[in-house]
């Protein structure tokens, strides 16, 4: 990453550079788009939301008197006559992480103004997200079919169902919102809105390829959160 060119301003490396940027006028993060800075701060706030969820989950799981169900049994799949633990989750995680890769490529092609590749990669990311949400719906329906409810659970502590549905539901909502925006952005990319700087439908802000990177930040964050949920729910 090279520093942006700013008239009358010389960047310094390391801690001194950080101090100089902080002490300078106009902007603290030189050359950083407003929307991008906003997304970072939003994600910091969102991190606190998920942290509160996961800490509550740890507290709930730690203090329950009834045994917590064994995740490799509850989340196992029975395929071709064999019980495979965590099979579905492995596929879900793989799909979601792959979609992060395609998103990163979309950002790259966006900055190269390669409208076609960028659009297809965003579309591919959206489909990855959609597949993930679909598989999550399948997992939910499987668990509900087996009798797990937010308020009760045949395999052990009722809090298992409560926390599982609440936290994966909240994460799934994040993914779904991301998917909706990915479809919109794919449409806008193919239509060339970012090339011509067409104004947004609601915000009346001029379109720019940086928007794809901003959405990308959100998408990577959602993936990162999934890694934590995966570790805390399925591996613990």
């Amino acid at each position: 990453m090279s520093d942006p060119k700013i008239e009358g301003y010389t960047f310094k490396p390391g801690f001194k550079g950080m101090a100089q940027d902080t002490g300078s006028d106009q902007t603290m993060f030189k050359g950083v788009h407003w929307g991008k800075a906003m997304m970072w701060i939003f994600l910091l706030s969102d991190t606190f939301i998920f942290s509160c969820f996961l800490i509550s989950y740890m507290k709930g799981r730690g203090s329950t008197l009834i045994d917590w169900p064994n995740p490799s049994e509850v989340f196992g799949l029975h395929v071709f006559g064999v019980d495979v633990p965590l099979l579905l989750i492995a596929i879900m995680t793989f799909v979601l992480i792959t979609s992060s890769g395609t998103m990163a490529l979309a950002v790259k092609y966006g900055y190269e103004k390669n409208k076609k590749m960028c659009g297809w990669l965003i579309l591919f990311t959206a489909l990855g997200g959609l597949t993930f949400v679909g598989m999550q719906a399948f997992e939910w329906s499987k668990l509900i079919h087996e009798g797990v409810r937010p308020w009760s659970n045949p395999f052990g502590a009722p809090q298992f169902g409560s926390f599982f549905f609440m936290i994966t539901g909240f994460h799934g909502t994040h993914v779904s919102i991301g998917v909706i925006f990915l479809f919109i952005y794919a449409y806008k990319t193919f239509k060339g809105h970012y090339d011509e700087g067409k104004r947004g439908w609601f915000t009346t802000i001029k379109g720019d390829y940086v928007e794809i990177e901003i959405l990308g930040l959100y998408w990577h964050f959602v993936d990162l959160v999934w890694v934590f949920i995966f570790a805390f729910f399925y591996l613990w």
């Binding site: 301003y9 300078s24 106009q26 509160c52 507290k59 809090q159």
Partner: protein, 612 residues
């Protein structure tokens, strides 16, 4: 005095190194300011009544909208407090008042005043109006998001007030909403009331997040040329730091409210332990009520500083302007604000001393709590040192400032009592606590709001508020508020418990009866006195004295707009260029006693002004 300084050649104009960016060395031109690095902001100008005044994207109009709606909600909170005092002072006088009603009024009064009045007013109201003006931006960076923020707040207030009209009425669980009793039968509003409260809080947090992102990015990324972070008025520092706190603290409230909602409507047991009711075991079981307390107070304590930090910032500016002196220890003030903000995340369990915890845990939280007193005391000393030998204008604004210092010190000292576990345990849940937090985060921030209204009204409307009415308003409020809360300390010492509907014939509390009557009468008067301000505003808007440009002779940018009141876009053709901090008052050798932030060093060549 100034003669001495003129002869003293050691004070010289400093180099422009601090602002000329990195490494380019000392510019020969002392007025040099780096060229703009951000392009002109693209603004959407409203062209009809709806886009100009209703769904408006101008931060100043949004600020006024926030201010009016928060004030409206605050008046409802005020009326609720009247009803509570009516019951406490004269039990049985209001026939309709049952214990259930009393609990509902207590709950709604607390939640409205803390979240929907003070938070919305300081951050939504003053933040929106002042941040872009004070940092020299044309508007908030995301005007559309800003508009959605206000309308989310609007819906949140609507949902909150709707809970008065649902079956069972609003929740009566106390503003802390502690489970399990919040959602159990027997607590007023245990069904719909608490549901609407949680939904309203979630909407408020969502709306606030949109506004908060705006404030933060505007301060960080949209300052005008020459405006460094250390040249921002302390008002901006206070609101900025409070917003950071809010962005990190509100998530805990959101999560708590969401889990409470699920416990309420789905029958999950996040917070619900096994409960026996009339010999029968309820469906709930296995949850932790203490978990909610941790989530709530992880939000709740920073919330105190979300209200207090903007107040600290605003009061610093008001004191400086009206005593014609630079704020004493500007950098210390900034670091104190940041330090208090950071510490506020490590003290939350001091609200839970009586919930039962490991003694070492209490020890830790008592220590962190007392450490906060250090930066806070630094700020109080600095305000007093700013006043010391100042050219004090004893106008209404200054009266509110002095009132703030007194009430804040008073509330702060009782805070040191309550921060210690051993002192807190016997005082907990008594009127001493009520007296403490009303003094420190009720009356003190309110004094700042009032001072700020009298100070900035000439900017918002172009007219001075009436001084005479203002003095009546101040003295009635200040003396009245003391009459309300000072006796409450005594009530706390004799053990009058808070949240009780009536004392009945408690023999050891006979001395509380007369005092309760006195407090109630004072509360009615103070409440009524607030309507003097409303009358004053209406009267001023009709026949007020025009204020013109920069009536207080202040330095900060909001007073330097080409038009008063400022128009959309704030600055006309060209953005202002900043050369100094906003506190150059009474500078030796300068003819006027103020040097505005936009004054270039060469314009006052003869003086010994440092280019800060």
């Amino acid at each position: 005095m100034s003669e001495d300084l003129n002869n003293n050649k050691t004070i010289q104009a400093q180099s422009s190194e601090t602002i000329s960016g990195g490494g380019s060395g000392i510019s020969p031109d002392i007025d040099y300011v780096r060229p703009a690095e951000i392009p002109e902001q693209d603004l959407y100008h409203g062209h009809s009544f709806i886009t100009k005044w209703v769904f408006c994207q101008d931060a100043k109009v949004i600020g006024i909208q926030y201010f009016l709606l928060a004030t409206f909600t605050g008046i409802i909170g005020l009326i609720l407090s009247w009803l509570m005092r009516l019951q406490l002072g004269f039990p049985g006088l209001a026939g309709f008042m049952t214990a259930e009603h009393y609990y509902q009024f207590v709950t709604m009064h607390g939640m409205i005043m803390v979240v929907y009045f003070l938070t919305a007013l300081f951050l939504g109201g003053f933040g929106n109006y002042l941040i872009p003006l004070m940092v020299g931006a044309r508007d908030m960076v995301f005007p559309y998001l800003n508009m959605v923020s206000f309308w989310s707040f609007f819906v949140a207030v609507g949902v909150l007030l709707a809970s008065f009209f649902v079956p069972g009425g609003p929740t009566g669980a106390g503003w802390t909403l502690y489970p399990p009793q919040t959602i159990l039968e027997g607590t007023p509003g245990h069904g719909m009331g608490i549901l609407l409260m949680c939904i309203s809080l979630i909407l408020f947090v969502a709306g606030f997040t949109m506004g908060g992102l705006n404030y933060l990015i505007t301060v960080l990324q949209a300052r005008t040329r020459g405006m460094t972070l250390m040249r921002m008025p302390l008002t901006v520092w206070g609101i900025f730091t409070a917003t950071v706190l809010a962005m990190l603290a509100f998530p805990a409230l959101l999560v708590g409210a969401l889990m409470m909602t699920l416990d309420n409507i789905l029958g999950t047991s996040f917070f619900m332990p096994t409960i026996l009711k009339a010999g029968e075991v309820l469906e709930y079981g296995g949850g932790s009520p203490i978990l909610f307390q941790h989530l709530f107070w992880f939000f709740g304590h920073p919330e105190v500083y979300i209200v207090a930090l903007p107040a600290f910032g605003i009061i610093s500016d008001l004191i400086s302007v009206h005593s014609r002196k630079n704020i004493f220890g500007y950098r210390m003030m900034v670091w104190a604000i940041v330090g208090i903000g950071a510490l506020s995340f490590f003290v939350w369990a001091h609200h839970m001393y009586v919930s039962g915890m490991n003694p070492w845990f209490g020890f830790f939280f008592a220590t962190t709590t007392l450490i906060i007193a250090v930066p806070t005391a630094m700020k109080v000393y600095n305000w007093i040192l700013t006043l010391w030998r100042g050219n004090i204008r004893m106008n209404v604004v200054m009266l509110w400032c002095l009132g703030f210092i007194v009430t804040f010190v008073n509330g702060g000292i009782t805070g040191i009592f309550l921060g210690n576990v051993t002192v807190d345990v016997p005082l907990s849940d008594t009127y001493f606590v009520i007296a403490h937090f009303h003094m420190v985060m009720g009356i003190a921030p309110l004094m700042v709001i009032m001072g700020a209204v009298y100070h900035w009204f000439p900017l918002v409307s172009g007219k001075f508020l009436d001084e005479k009415l203002g003095k009546w308003h101040f003295w009635l409020t200040f003396l009245g508020a003391y009459s309300i809360y000072f006796p409450m300390h005594y009530l706390g010492f004799i053990g009058v418990p808070r949240r009780y509907f009536e004392m009945y014939d408690s023999p050891y509390m006979t001395s509380a009866v007369g005092m309760n009557e006195f407090i109630s009468l004072a509360a009615f008067i103070v409440g009524a006195a607030q309507f003097i301000l409303i009358y004053n505003i209406v009267k001023t808007l009709k026949i007020g004295k025009p204020a013109g440009h920069n009536p207080w002779k202040a330095n900060s940018l909001e007073w330097l707009t080409p038009t008063v009141p400022p128009e959309h876009g704030n600055w006309g053709e060209r953005l202002p260029v900043v050369h100094r901090w906003p506190y150059d008052f009474s500078v030796p050798g300068v003819k006027e006693d103020f040097v505005t932030q936009t004054t270039a060093p060469s314009e006052i060549a003869g003086s010994k002004v440092e280019k800060t």
